[in-house]
């Protein structure tokens, strides 16, 4: 068994495997650090910036920072928590996130984080951008109104033949997810559902089966996001 590294998060003594990133290590020690782009086992992207922590007085993204022996990490402090709330608010105002009619409601990580961080009225003005829905793929709908550009789909979803079907197109504030028309035409229902589940929000929708999970049984209906991690240790 490899040697464990000792470090602290908010003065709590923690242990990690050598080479582990701070986010995964925190999770293994029962500490929740929020993230919308990270998928364990997939190369971190540092895209959403929600996992910011303070190490030696500097802000660092926990997903891209390897743990080092003796590291002192600040996580649950007002400055960081407010920064995270500000990022969540920014994500809400930059898109069109109408939870009431969204089928991802109750299973949406962005919504769940907004509840956990008790978001009320965002401090930024709503942008109400004009965005489209791409419904041309037989199995999937891409609702650009809800996409937070986390790149999870690009980084971790491959079709049955191991090919990427998602990619970015355009640049700057016009940047958006593109779905390969030809490859996506052959997706099975199972794969389409998998794509939907990878997306943290309701931007990827498996066609034709919305709202089949009753309220009360959805992922975040009973317990807040992160409580599964916090209850482990």
């Amino acid at each position: 068994m490899s040697e464990k590294i000792k470090f602290t998060i908010d003065d709590k003594e923690c242990f990690a495997e050598k080479g582990q990133n701070v986010l995964d290590a925190a999770t293994d020690n029962g500490i929740f650090i929020p993230a919308l782009c990270h998928i364990r086992g997939v190369k971190p992207a540092g895209a959403c910036r929600l996992c910011n922590v303070k190490i030696a007085g500097r802000l660092m993204t926990a997903c891209t920072t390897p743990v080092e022996s003796g590291m002192e990490i600040e996580n649950d402090i007002p400055e960081i928590q407010d920064l995270r709330l500000a990022i969540i608010e920014m994500l809400f105002v930059e898109g069109n996130h109408f939870c009431p009619a969204c089928e991802k409601s109750g299973n949406c990580e962005l919504q769940a984080l907004a509840y956990r961080y008790q978001m009320m009225v965002p401090r930024f003005p709503y942008e109400f951008p004009v965005k489209e829905i791409d419904a041309s793929c037989p199995k999937l709908i891409i609702d650009h109104n809800r996409c937070i550009l986390c790149k999870r789909c690009i980084r971790s979803f491959k079709d049955e033949n191991g090919k990427n079907i998602f990619a970015f197109k355009k640049r700057g504030h016009k940047l958006q997810i593109n779905i390969d028309e030809k490859l996506s035409a052959n997706l099975s229902d199972e794969m389409a559902q998998k794509a939907m589940d990878i997306c943290p929000v309701g931007a990827i929708i498996h066609k034709g089966k919305g709202f089949d999970e009753p309220i009360g049984t959805r992922k975040y209906d009973k317990v807040p996001i992160g409580s599964d991690i916090e209850s482990v240790v």
Binding site: P100, A101, I133, K207, G208, G210, F211, P214, G216
Partner: protein, 483 residues
């Protein structure tokens, strides 16, 4: 000199409206109008959305009877996913939805009678507005107020276990329902501690019908003549002519009871019903195509339903129905204030239906959804608390909604409400030297009998109040009262 009276805002209705009344030099009414001055445009913003979102999205039109929109949209989507109409669903799917609907009818009718209408009946139309409201009722008639609150709660809890939430749930999905009813959920309603059980709801509903009948005996003149006028009546009925609030065929009768729309399929509604736009209101004016704009308008809602149905398929409500019919010798009842009587008989029917459904073991089965061949167009119709509700959608091959047309209950009652206002204006305001608050409230009482939901009707946003203004022939404002 012509005078114009405006009532704005109309109070104790759902939504925002304004009444204007024009008087001539002698103070006689020459014209009256109920204007709906809000606009919301739901039909536009569902365009482009995936079809399965419609039942969840469109119900946001309303916080009072969202279940009606939720179910009407789901019924239209049943057609689109090839589950067929009405009895095409699985038994559990259909019955869970019916239970949701009766819970909804129950809570909405109770809200209207106890909270919105009872102040006029208990205190009198011309009583001081400071006490003529639900707070006044709560202070003076505590038992009635408490009953109203508990009955509404019961209905809303039925909605919660069927739709997932008391308001704006997600239960009905294209082709069925997303949950069944557990034994624990069921038993809460069947055997809950007093008063929260269905037997108590039935007995309280019966009390409410009797309360109205007593009131009627004492105030026959008011109830029988106030805003009474002949009209056509339209509603869904079951294929065998029974009252059915969830599904059926469209029937219309004229003021003498002659059938003028012969039990037609809701999918064909456009062949029979058209809507006229007038430039002074956002609310359209529907009419029967065959009879034209002038003679083809009709009433919907509890009064219309009791007029069109041949019988009510639950024993206690049927008994009351027979008495109701006997009062007009089996002829259609055209008295606006009898809407309250009809509404309470329906409340009783809804309570009886809830009991029947709660005792039905089909609600515990797991076969929830059915689908068939996808088509591109569907109509969903049902009888909402306030009357017939039409939802019509077209969907493209990418599953996006391309067209939505909604004709809501209050829109169907647009012309009748205008006529009711005119009746009251003629009988109470014409020739009077001074316009009192009591007279203005009388106008509102006539509108309120229809329990209009003005926000739904224009798919519009807002509160409920109404304003009456009085104008002269040169359009100068003479008097204005807000209630």
């Amino acid at each position: 000199m012509t005078k114009k009276i405006t009532i704005e805002p109309v109070t104790r209705v759902e939504g925002h409206g304004k009444v204007t009344i024009y008087l001539d030099d002698n103070g006689n009414v020459v014209q009256s109008r109920l204007h709906i001055v809000e606009f919301r445009g739901f039909e536009r913003f569902v365009q482009g959305r995936p079809y399965w979102e419609a039942p969840v999205l469109v119900q946001r039109l309303c916080g009072i009877c969202p279940v009606s929109h939720h179910l009407a949209a789901a019924k239209a989507m049943d057609v689109i996913v090839g589950a067929g109409t009405g009895d095409g669903l699985t038994l559990t799917g259909e019955k869970m939805r019916r239970l949701m609907h009766y819970g909804q009818i129950f809570q909405s009718h109770v809200l209207h009678f106890f909270h919105l209408a009872s102040p006029d009946l208990l205190f009198g139309i011309d009583a001081d507005p400071a006490i003529r409201n639900i707070i006044g009722v709560a202070m003076k008639f505590k038992d009635i107020a408490v009953q109203g609150v508990m009955m509404r709660k019961f209905g809303q809890e039925i909605i919660e276990v069927t739709a997932g939430k008391k308001i704006h749930g997600t239960g009905a999905i294209p082709g069925g329902i997303n949950k069944n009813l557990s034994i624990e959920e069921r038993d809460r309603f069947l055997y809950g501690p007093d008063p929260m059980n269905v037997d108590k709801m039935i007995s309280w509903s019966l009390d409410a019908v009797n309360f109205f009948k007593d009131y009627h005996k004492k105030h026959r003149e008011l109830i029988d003549t106030f805003a009474a006028f002949p009209s056509n009546h339209l509603s869904l009925v079951r294929k065998d002519g029974a009252m059915d609030l969830y599904d059926g065929v469209i029937r219309a009768i004229d003021t003498d009871g002659k059938k003028i729309l012969h039990d037609v399929d809701p999918q064909d509604y456009l062949k029979y019903i058209a809507e006229e736009v007038k430039n002074w209101s956002y609310m359209k004016f529907p009419y029967l195509v065959e009879y034209g704009k002038k003679d083809g308008w009709y009433r919907v809602g509890p009064l219309a339903r009791l007029n069109t149905a041949d019988f009510i398929p639950s024993p206690l409500a049927q008994k009351e129905f027979e008495e109701f019919k006997a009062y007009t010798n089996g002829k259609p009842n055209n008295m606006s204030m009898h809407m309250h009587w009809a509404r309470l008989i329906e409340t009783l029917h809804a309570a009886e239906m809830m009991k029947e459904l709660l005792n039905d073991p089909d609600l515990q089965k797991d076969d929830l959804v059915i689908k068939g061949t996808r088509v591109n167009e569907g109509v969903g119709m049902l009888e909402a608390p306030r009357g017939t509700l039409f939802h019509h959608y077209r969907v493209n091959e990418n599953d996006q909604i391309t067209m939505a047309n909604l004709i809501v209950s209050t829109t169907n009652n647009n012309e009748p409400m205008n006529i009711a206002v005119r009746c009251v204006a003629d009988s109470m305001i014409s020739g009077q030297k001074e316009i009192t608050e009591g007279m203005l409230n009388a106008v509102e009482v006539a509108i309120r009998a229809y329990d209009p939901c003005l926000s739904c009707a224009t798919h519009a946003l807002g509160k409920m109040p109404l304003e009456v203004s009085l104008y002269d022939s040169k359009n100068n404002l003479i008097d204005k009262k807000r209630t």
